[in-house]
């Protein structure tokens, strides 16, 4: 019995080749889809952003609150900053550089919200400070800080609360160091005047 294969006509060979290529392309795509489903919750970018949330979340939330005066909008700003962090996937020299980038982005997001959003509302301190007496005590400070224009309060927050130098603040807020020093000085004077005017506080 002759078992030698009969040569396939040229046209058939081409069709077979094209069909196998198509199958390979479909298989490759299905493989990518499956891989995507598996990695949704393990995306390196999302994991990196989640680590940033753990590491810098409180600092960024507090900064956002200092601009927006309510927790809900501060949370939105923090989330927007982390999404930008995930999308841009910037490279950093060290952790300080990473935190400074996040502070700068959060600050800009908050300023954009403040200028162009109408629905911002202010939280009462009692909404997140359960002790009524403590909330009353702290309202003294909060009213004073809230009364400052944002350009002063942001500098005061970063200088006093976060402990950054005027040079570092200048880098984060894209301002000259001399401008930052001047804002700090004027911010302090304004706070003093507010305390004297509203609360009759004297040194």
């Amino acid at each position: 019995m002759n078992t030698q294969a009969i040569p396939m006509p040229m046209g058939m060979r081409i069709i077979r080749l094209l069909y196998s290529m198509l199958l390979r392309a479909v298989a490759l795509f299905e493989c990518e889809s499956a891989s995507a489903k598996l990695t949704v919750c393990e995306s390196p970018a999302a994991m990196r952003a989640e680590n940033a949330l753990k590491q810098y979340g409180n600092a960024l939330l507090r900064l956002a609150f200092s601009y927006l005066h309510n927790i809900q909008d501060a949370e939105d700003a923090l989330q927007d900053a982390l999404i930008q962090y995930m999308r841009k996937a910037p490279e950093f020299e060290n952790e300080a550089h990473e935190k400074a980038w996040l502070i700068s982005v959060t600050s800009n997001i908050c300023k954009n919200k403040l200028r162009h959003t109408k629905r911002l509302r202010e939280d009462e301190l009692s909404e997140f400070i359960p002790d009524e007496r403590e909330a009353d005590d702290l309202s003294f400070v909060w009213q004073c800080v809230k009364s400052l224009p944002e350009k002063y309060s942001e500098v005061l927050h970063l200088f006093y609360y976060e402990g950054y130098s005027t040079a570092e603040i200048a880098g984060m807020l894209s301002k000259n160091e001399s401008t930052v020093r001047s804002l700090l000085m004027r911010g302090r004077s304004m706070m003093k005047a507010t305390l004297e005017d509203i609360y009759g506080y004297e040194e």
């Binding site: 081409i14 080749l17 094209l18 290529m21 198509l22 392309a25 490759l28 795509f29 990518e32 995507a36 990695t39 949704v40 919750c41 995306s43 970018a45 999302a46 989640e50 949330l53 753990k54 979340g57 409180n58 939330l61 507090r62 609150f65 927790i71 501060a74 949370e75 939105d76 989330q79 927007d80 999404i83 930008q84 995930m86 999308r87 800009n108 997001i109 300023k111 954009n112 919200k113 200028r115 162009h116 959003t117 301190l125 997140f128 400070i129 403590e134 005590d137 702290l138 003294f140 400070v141 004073c144 800080v145 006093y160 609360y161 894209s174 302090r188 706070m191 003093k192 305390l195 040194e203």
Partner: protein, 215 residues
Amino acid sequence: MDMRNKQKGGYDVLMDHITVTPEMAERITRNLQKEAASHKKKALHGHMRWVAGIAACAAVAILCIALLPMLQAPDNHPGSLVGIPLPPQHFESLEGALAELTYEAQLPSSMPEGYELSGCMLYEGAMLQLTYTNGENSIVYRTAEGSNDISGEYERYSEETTVENDAGVSIALKGNASGYHSARWTNGGMAYSLHSDVPLSESELLGIVNSVQED
């Protein structure tokens, strides 16, 4: 008692109350994962197009070689499949577009009478474009980080001049005898442009430009 120390102490205590709660962390994490998934989906769409393109090119090439031997070199440009720019993103609201930006956007606070914001777009997630219309005509405002020319204005105009506003910023104006159609300037590391369908007077155009500057 030192006033600053008193304030710093009180402010510290106040800020210490503001923390990322476990519920908040969970909400944010969930949204980050959603965002990562949607990003991956978009990337896959691109990949699918890439695979389909390669398969189509290969099929055409094989057909050409097998059936049309007179075509010695099939026209195949794989390079054209890469580097496809991202499509512009349209936003329902200005707020939505601004939330995508990593820089502080300066926007015009003044427009000629009757013009209202009608469209918000982002190009490559970085250049913000706002369109203001009065029903018939439109004014397009653009801003992005850097100092590149972002105007997209390639039309030749008979009148081109540069003026300096009160803040010392140089503004390049283009137009014709009936008025100016475009303005382009940079300030504080940002690039800006304006384009109007209908000619505007120098004072009208500079009125918009000056309303953009930071307080």
